[in-house]
């Protein structure tokens, strides 16, 4: 079984636990350390988006995080039961803006799209689901000794 998952409230105080979850997965499957930071970044950005947008709801959404080792890649899936919100609908930041006019909004999701090979959103029943995959040649069950 090459999948692990965890569930928590959408609360910024959960970030250290999420980091531990990710790092445990990385060491269990002996994945390349250089790619760990990519997933830490994606998980922080996506989770904090849920925290920010979920704060408009009358209760904090629950967040399900799962990570799956596949052949030649790793997939991270973040689901929440908050109000419908497609982070991929956010406009990309204006990379040509000056120091004085540059805005920070939307930067997190933009970074996720840059560091991952595929990012897909779907709303299914009462759940937002964001699925991110990074290709990593040579990892996964088919390559296990």
């Amino acid at each position: 079984m090459n999948e692990r998952h965890t569930t928590m409230p959408s609360d910024a105080a959960q970030l250290p636990a999420l980091l531990t979850f990710l790092q445990d997965f990385w060491s269990e499957f002996k994945l390349p350390p250089a790619e760990a930071l990519t997933f830490e970044l994606a998980l922080e950005e996506v989770f904090m988006n849920v925290v920010m947008h979920g704060s408009h709801a009358d209760r904090a959404p629950r967040v399900n995080v799962s990570i799956t080792l596949e052949d030649d890649g790793v997939t991270l899936t973040v689901e929440d039961d908050g109000p419908p919100f497609d982070p991929l609908s956010l406009p990309a930041p204006d990379l040509t803006a000056s120091l004085e006019t540059r805005r920070v909004g939307g930067l997190g999701v933009f970074l996720v799209r840059q560091v991952m090979d595929s990012v897909r959103y779907e709303r299914r029943d009462t759940t937002n689901r964001l699925k991110m995959t990074k290709n990593m040649a040579g990892v996964g069950p088919r390559h296990a000794a």
Partner: protein, 112 residues
């Protein structure tokens, strides 16, 4: 994350180390704002010990660089590790924030 701040003449040298994530960003921002409040001629943020930065950390670098520019304080960020450098590059921040390859290069950009 830990941040050390020291003075070199009229230049403040800020040395963050560890992970600049959402949880660390607010404190790092207030430490940098305190450094700016002392009105140094310049600020060098030496990131040799910085392992990780997210958009929450980038936001602090942006706000503090903007505040420094408005106050006429030279601010240069230097010695980024490759993984952190990538986040600066992808976000376009390397284009709008003054960067130095290492501390010596950053100090050369400080007012004499």
């Amino acid at each position: 994350m830990q941040t050390r701040i020291e003075s070199l003449g009229r230049v403040a040298i800020v040395t963050p180390s560890g992970r600049l994530d959402f949880g660390a960003a607010a404190l790092f921002q207030s430490e940098l704002e305190s450094a700016l409040a002392n009105t140094p001629a310049g600020v060098v943020i030496d990131c040799a010990g910085l392992d990780y930065v997210s958009s929450a950390g980038l936001r602090v670098f942006l706000l503090v660089s903007r505040a420094a520019a408005r106050s006429g304080i030279a601010l240069v960020i230097c010695s980024l590790k490759p993984a952190v450098r990538e986040v600066f590059d992808v976000s376009g921040f390397s284009q709008i924030i003054a960067m130095g390859a290492d501390r010596a290069a950053a100090l050369e950009k400080m007012p004499q």
